[in-house]
């Protein structure tokens, strides 16, 4: 770590403890984070917007609360980065798209209010694939984000900026969104913890929608404990979100160390078939760790899960095609003028959307169109039920499942950009959990030729408790070199 950060404790929980006790001032913590961002951001492009002044002001407010004896919140003074598809009032929110360039939301997303109320300090908005559509952050209209482990490689996507910011030690916490793996996959490629909650556990109000029945906001952190702490802050019922679960949520943090004795763990054999050898080895390694800690580990085949990719690439674009219709140049964002409103719409959307977004809008429009609805969209919704049933049967026999997060380690920037299908395959192992609405987490486990490999732990709906307990054990048995935060690496070879 650079000299300026040496007095600042690493990690969110340690930072919050130190700020709450008065041992460290939130102002100093934020200063250090902003300094680190200033040093490394040029080479990484994690952020679309850095809110330095606002961050310092917020940090000062935390310090004032501590000084006045008021409770500053469980994440007091912890710098946090927010994916740029989370609405922040008065702060640019682009969704990685030209069509929202310069747009200032007049309201905050519910999760933003939650983290601020918990005392966290928002330092900026992170880069993403445009409208969260992608697995590499190369689809951002503002340029790609680079993987801190190798700047010639992608950080994953779509929440690449958030994952990289945590991996590079710029911030201890970040929020991303996960529709088909967009938190877990970049977490795996960047050697950090990234988690998708049960659908409905975290409010979507203020999350710029991609696919409404699949989207969930999820935490990034360097450790399982920090990620759990952030989840505990953002989880809970929100009356502004009709799909928000009203059941009482039990915080997961207090029981992280309860262990896995007797826990039934299923290794998803279908996922091992096409993953790279290092990813397979990581899964087997994690399974061993769990077994040695007292879990009962077995392989399980869930063939229905392999239908997930196809169903996803029918359902998600369909919902997206409708969710993105509102970007029409009328009320906000980009407008390219035209002689009539229809032409204005067409020119605006053509100029404002990138190719991947256009592909998905067209695909989605097609599968919903008259004559094709039943065969494609209707069928995909039924396949979704098959996936959920596959999981359901497995969860009769197992408490959690494990598998690879991503089929590969981080690939080179540009390697898959011209082949949409190849890019889609990155999400093969993460998509099924979105279709079923279940939680899952990626935990950094090992290195393959210097690049991090994450292992995925999956659980049934509202199974975050067991999931996090298993993740804690996996983390304990993982290679400590395989996780962030790291000093961002220089380019390996001149290209």
């Amino acid at each position: 770590m650079s000299g300026a950060a040496r007095d600042v404790p690493a990690g969110a929980l340690a930072t919050a403890r130190a700020v709450r006790s008065g041992e460290v001032r939130a102002h100093q913590v934020s200063e250090a984070a902003l300094a680190r961002i200033a040093e490394f951001e040029g080479g990484l492009h994690c952020f679309n917007t850095v809110t330095a002044d606002a961050a310092l002001a917020a940090a000062d407010a935390v310090d004032a609360a501590v000084a006045a004896g008021r409770d500053p919140g469980p994440l007091a003074g912890v710098p946090i980065a927010l994916k740029d598809n989370l609405c922040t009032r008065g702060v640019a929110t682009t969704a990685g798209s030209r069509i929202l360039e310069g747009w200032l939301p007049p309201y905050d997303a519910t999760v933003v209010r939650s983290v601020v109320a918990a005392g966290a300090v928002v330092v900026g908005k992170t880069n993403l694939d445009e409208f969260a559509m992608g697995s590499s952050t190369e689809n951002s209209a503002f340029g790609p984000t680079r993987n801190p482990w190798d700047p010639g490689r992608v950080p994953g996507g779509s929440s690449g900026g958030s994952a990289a910011a945590v991996a590079a030690g710029l911030v201890p916490l970040a929020l991303g969104s996960d529709t088909g793996g967009s938190v877990r996959q970049p977490a795996s490629l960047c050697g950090v913890v990234g988690m998708k909650p049960t659908y409905g556990l975290v409010s979507r109000y203020g999350l710029i929608a991609f696919a409404s029945s699949l989207d969930q906001i999820g935490p990034f952190a360097a450790t399982v404990a920090d990620a759990a702490a952030l989840l505990d802050v953002i989880a809970g019922h929100d009356p502004a979100d009709s799909t928000s679960l009203a059941v009482g949520f039990e915080p997961v943090s207090p029981r992280l160390d309860d262990g896995v004795a007797g826990m039934r763990v299923g290794v998803i054999s279908d996922f091992l078939a096409d993953a790279s050898p290092s990813c397979v080895a990581a899964v087997r390694g994690a399974a061993d760790v769990l077994g040695r800690a007292g879990a009962v580990v077995e392989e399980v085949a869930i063939p229905a899960l392999m239908l997930g990719l196809s169903a996803y690439y029918l359902v998600a674009p369909a919902e997206a095609s409708s969710n993105l219709a509102r970007y029409d140049g009328v009320r906000y964002g980009l407008r390219v003028d035209g002689p009539d409103v229809t032409q204005m719409n067409g020119r605006t959307r053509s100029a404002g959307f990138g190719p991947e977004v256009k592909r998905r809008i067209m695909l989605g429009t097609y599968v919903l169109s008259a004559g094709y609805y039943d065969a494609y969209y209707g069928q995909a919704q039924r396949v979704r039920t098959l996936v959920a049933r596959g999981f359901g049967d497995a969860y009769e026999r197992f408490d959690v499942l494990v598998g690879p997060t991503s089929p590969t380690v981080a690939f080179e920037i540009g390697a898959k950009a011209t082949d949409p299908l190849a890019m889609y395959l990155s999400d093969l192992y993460t998509i099924p959990t979105n279709l079923a609405g279940h939680p899952a987490v990626s935990v950094p486990f090992s290195l393959s030729e210097g690049l991090p490999v994450g292992v995925q732990v999956l659980a049934p709906a509202l199974g975050e408790g067991a999931m996090f307990r298993a993740a804690t054990v996996v983390e304990r048995g993982a290679d400590p070199q395989a996780r962030g935060p790291i000093e961002p690496r220089a380019a390996k070879v001149a290209r």
Partner: protein, 103 residues
Amino acid sequence: MPAVTESFSRDDVVYVARLARLDLEPGEVDLYAAQLASILDHVAAVTGLDTTDVPPTAHPLELENVLRPDTPGMTLDRDEVLAQAPLAESGRFRVPPILGEAP
């Protein structure tokens, strides 16, 4: 259910682009048609699956009857809203001529 075998044709691209208000250059139409056909071929495998008696999942949750009371709440400040408008006039959003009625 028999598998759907039509692919994504050029005409399909033109049709959906119009529905979705995306202006495409002629060259783009062919490029997207090829890409979309390839994607559709891959995902179309689901169309041939037997899903008799399998109900669709519209929501992962089993929620119903989520309602709110009929009580007025906060509205936005009009100036803040119109400040973000590409073009505004007399407190309203201004748009180029609308040529027809709503469909």
